[in-house]
């Protein structure tokens, strides 16, 4: 694909065209614009979290334990007197990191395996299909728990577990889309122009199923965040005192009964916002990536 850019001189640069198109899509659908704004906010928290946080997220101050939201602590403090706002902001990096890496991993593994299965058929298809079936046979969250418990309690293993759990989804979608396109005219044409099978797969089939996969990525991103938070909630994965939305909800859960609602509510809201953002983003992303919508 390296030779793609050097083509006609009069054509506008691809990046400029994409930006113009993105502006058009966003203008046509304000919800997409909202999703992108929220996404930027999350990204900002993830990148600049420690700088933005008003307090040290790890500094405990027992004199201020379980303080209600106030001007000094807009989200209140937890049972060790740590500032919840700071912890929510700082946790974005870890949660988003887990989600992005696990989705990228499953996109690569599941997407490629699925495309190969749909394109080559035969034994490739059978192996990938049975693998996906095997994973689907387990309750997904329990499977993720098992993987993390077996591999060890680290962030890397949460990423791997989340990726494995999502594998069947990606493999199946990619397989179905590739199988439809396998005999399409332009795929045959690509063979005629001297592209070998692997090359046809990577340069012709894969780019054409990207729009569908992009939507899927965005949707599973939300699920990946929930999954990571869920694992932390039940005590697997991220260990305290690291700020992470799942643990924070878990820690705050016991205080809801006694009236300290803010400990669990704000990290929970952050989690909800992140999932909501990624789900909204899916639709917008599809419109931008789809060449049919460019005109």
């Amino acid at each position: 694909m390296a030779e793609t850019p050097a083509l006609p001189a009069e054509a506008p640069s691809p990046l400029a065209a994409l930006l113009r198109h993105a502006r058009h899509v966003v203008a046509g659908n304000p919800v997409t614009a909202l999703a992108f704004l929220l996404f930027l906010l999350l990204l900002l928290c993830a990148v600049l979290g420690p700088v933005l946080a008003p307090h040290d997220p790890l500094a405990s101050d027992t004199t201020r334990a379980l303080a209600a939201p106030s001007a000094r602590h807009p989200f209140g403090t937890d049972h060790l007197g740590r500032d919840i706002l700071s912890r929510v902001v700082v946790a974005a990096r870890l949660d988003m990191g887990i989600a992005i890496f696990s989705v990228a991993l499953v996109f690569l593994l599941g997407g490629l395996a699925g495309v190969a299965a749909g394109f080559f058929g035969g034994w490739t298809d059978r192996i990938v299909g049975r693998l996906a079936d095997t994973i689907m046979a387990f309750p997904l969250f329990v499977l993720a728990m098992g993987i993390v418990a077996a591999l060890g309690n680290t962030v890397t293993n949460i990423v791997i577990a989340t990726a494995i759990v999502n594998f069947p989804l990606y493999a199946r979608i990619a397989r179905a889309e590739a199988a439809v396109r396998r005999e399409a005219g332009y795929v045959q044409a690509a063979r005629l122009t001297g592209n070998g099978e692997i090359r046809v797969l990577l340069t012709t089939i894969l780019p054409n199923i990207l729009p569908i996969m992009a939507v899927q990525m965005s949707l599973t991103m939300g699920y990946a965040i929930l999954n990571a938070a869920g694992l932390s909630f039940i005590g697997l994965g991220v260990k305290p005192p690291t700020p992470e939305w799942g643990i924070m909800v878990a820690e705050g859960a016991s205080y809801i009964v006694s009236g300290e609602w803010w400990v669990a509510l704000f990290p929970g809201l952050a989690l909800m916002l992140a999932v909501f953002t990624f789900n909204l983003l899916g639709d917008g992303l599809r419109d931008i990536v789809d060449p049919q919508r460019r005109s």
């Binding site: 122009t193 099978e197 054409n208």
Partner: protein, 580 residues
């Protein structure tokens, strides 16, 4: 966007029976579609009328608004479309003013419609007999007790052989022609007074087309129904319509009785359309508009000596597919019987193509012509037989690895559907560059120069080169496909119905372009088509295939003028053409 006053004589006055109210009377119909760039008028001030028992043809190329007109009559425009002006009266009832509920009563009972793709119009998971019975029951034409018998009767009326057995068939078990007959049975079940047929035979074989159209005209005549036949095919309209309305870009340009419109077309557009339609006796250049730029005579590449070895030599080529049920080892072992004989899609065909020659391969769907071209193209492995190309046996080279063969660039193909054969993610320039990047040498400035040269050669404006396929018209996409195929100066190009998806006027231009390119570049063509008249224009020799075998072979003139095989005669007789 006011329409200019029409320069045609006042129309739609039926010659003799003026006292009668026409069954359908459309006056000044204007239909607008809301788009990103504001409203677009797809149909502008169209007036037409159909008398009782009359068959009216609406003829035009894609985008002429002929289908939109019929959708407006049925009030089934999609959400972006609306009737902006005009009146539609159906036996005196103004359809525009009816509520949706009343309109639903009219659809099906008074006016029914058949569409282009019959398979899409049938429910795939219900047997065809049940589907007919459903309609009869819903409209009170049958009771639970006699629904089956009535449905079988309806099947018999549309000439379905062994109707009682076919009652239990699913749509996928029937051929396209039979599915269309089922759709006709459904449309006629409630004895409507008007039948709207929107390209009812596009996509069907010519012999099937004839059978279906004969059936429609016979049934509608027997029941005194009126028919609105929408088609792009002048020949079809001439053969089956009493009157014809010609539409161009949303306007009616001419309207007259069908025998007079073809004898003496008044409007320039009608004349252009008539000229572009392939017909007996016409030569390739005759299809282009009169007074247009006559292509300069090109230096004919020297013909190869007759005794030179042929460019392509095919002998006893066979492609077999296993039949259903022959698949699993276990099944075969359990059944202990001999596996059913495999299906032979191509059954031992042999022919040669000389350098600089065009060979036509003609046949109806399922005759094995596409399978043959796929095998020659090395996209499919033959079961047995040999394909010698440029003196080398390429039939034995596996299709999977052929992309790496040095012969890959010498044999190329132009696909049937210009839209489907272009990668939606590549610009026109990138699509044309693909073979050069993979198998050619030119890079950078030389590559750009070559792409420009190819664009000029196929008549594609250079400004369109950076567009994506969906931003190009059908004819422009066809040119991109041709430019891609000839980018590396191949020796043999297989043209797989290259104009089947194009309008006749575009087809005329593309066929001429192909002929010029052949003469200029000295290529050989294998032209695969279902239409003998089109093949004759471009080819020296013709092969007629049926059920995987060659039934006739000879010079184009001889096959068309004096066919030896019965099947060829049948094929030629089935092609409708304007009476000129």
């Amino acid at each position: 966007m006011d329409s200019p006053p029409m320069d045609t004589p006042p129309m739609d006055t039926p010659p003799m029976d003026t006292p009668h109210v026409p069954l359908l009377d459309v006056q000044d119909l204007t239909v607008e579609f809301a788009t990103r760039r504001g409203p677009v008028r797809a149909v502008r001030r169209v007036s037409l009328s159909i008398a009782r028992g009359e068959t009216l043809g609406v003829v035009g190329e894609s985008g002429s608004g002929k289908s939109v007109t019929s959708y407006a009559v049925m009030r089934i425009l999609d959400r972006a479309g609306r009737i902006a002006e005009g009146s539609i009266a159906f036996s005196g009832v103004p359809l525009r003013e009816l509520g949706e509920g009343e309109m639903q009563d009219i659809r099906g009972r008074e006016i029914s419609m058949i569409f282009q793709n019959p398979r899409a119009a049938l429910n795939p998971i219900r047997t065809v007999g049940r589907q007919i019975a459903d309609v009869l029951l819903r409209h009170g034409q049958a009771t639970r007790a006699n629904a089956r018998a009535k449905a079988i009767e309806a099947l018999e009326q549309v000439r379905i052989a062994r109707a009682a057995e076919r009652y239990d068939a699913y749509p996928f078990e029937l051929s396209g022609g039979m599915c269309q007959r089922i759709v006709i049975a459904l449309a006629l079940a409630c004895r409507p007074r008007l039948l709207i047929a929107d390209e009812p035979t596009t996509g069907l074989d010519v012999t099937t087309q004839k059978a279906v159209m004969d059936l429609v005209s016979e049934l509608t005549r027997a029941r005194g129904m009126s028919t609105l036949l929408i088609t792009h095919d002048l020949g079809l309209a001439a053969a089956y319509c009493d009157r014809v309305v010609v539409m161009q870009q949303g306007e009616v340009v001419e309207s007259a009785a069908s025998h007079s419109i073809f004898r003496a077309p008044q409007h320039a557009y009608t004349r252009r359309l008539m000229r572009a339609t392939p017909r007996p006796g016409a030569r390739l250049r005759d299809l282009l508009p009169e007074g247009g730029a006559v292509p300069e005579p090109v230096a004919t590449a020297p013909a190869a000596a007759p005794d030179a070895p042929p460019l392509l030599e095919v002998s006893s080529l066979v492609k077999e597919y296993p039949r259903a049920g022959a698949a699993g080892l276990l099944t075969r072992w359990l059944k202990r019987g001999a596996p059913p004989a495999p299906f032979r899609a191509v059954d031992g065909i042999s022919f040669t193509i000389r350098r600089g020659e065009s060979l036509g391969l003609v046949g109806e769907s399922g005759c094995g012509k596409s399978t043959t071209s796929m095998m020659l193209m090395r996209l499919l492995d033959p079961s047995s037989g040999s394909i010698r190309f440029l003196g080398q046996e390429i039939g034995a080279m596996p299709a999977r690895g052929f992309a790496a063969s040095p012969l890959r660039r010498r044999i190329q193909m132009v696909f049937q559907d210009p839209t489907d054969s272009l990668n939606p993610r590549l610009t026109a320039a990138r699509a044309i560059a693909d073979p050069i990047l993979r198998m050619g040498e030119a890079r950078g400035a030389a590559l750009r120069a070559r792409i420009d040269e190819l664009a000029d050669l196929v008549g594609l404006p250079r400004a369109l080169l950076h567009r994506f396929p969906h931003q190009l018209s059908g004819g422009q996409k066809a040119r991109v496909g041709i430019a891609r195929a000839i980018a590396l100066n191949p020796d043999l190009v297989i043209l797989d119905e290259p104009t089947a998806a194009l309008d006749v006027s575009v087809q005329a231009v593309v066929l001429n372009l192909l002929q010029d390119l052949k003469l200029r570049l000295g290529m050989s063509y294998l032209f695969v088509s279902h239409d003998l008249h089109v093949v004759r224009l471009l080819c020296d020799r013709v092969i007629v295939m049926r059920q995987g075998r060659i039934v006739e072979e000879g010079s184009a003139e001889q096959v068309l003028e004096a066919p030896r095989a019965d099947y060829t005669r049948e094929l030629i007789a089935a092609i409708p053409h304007p009476p000129i």
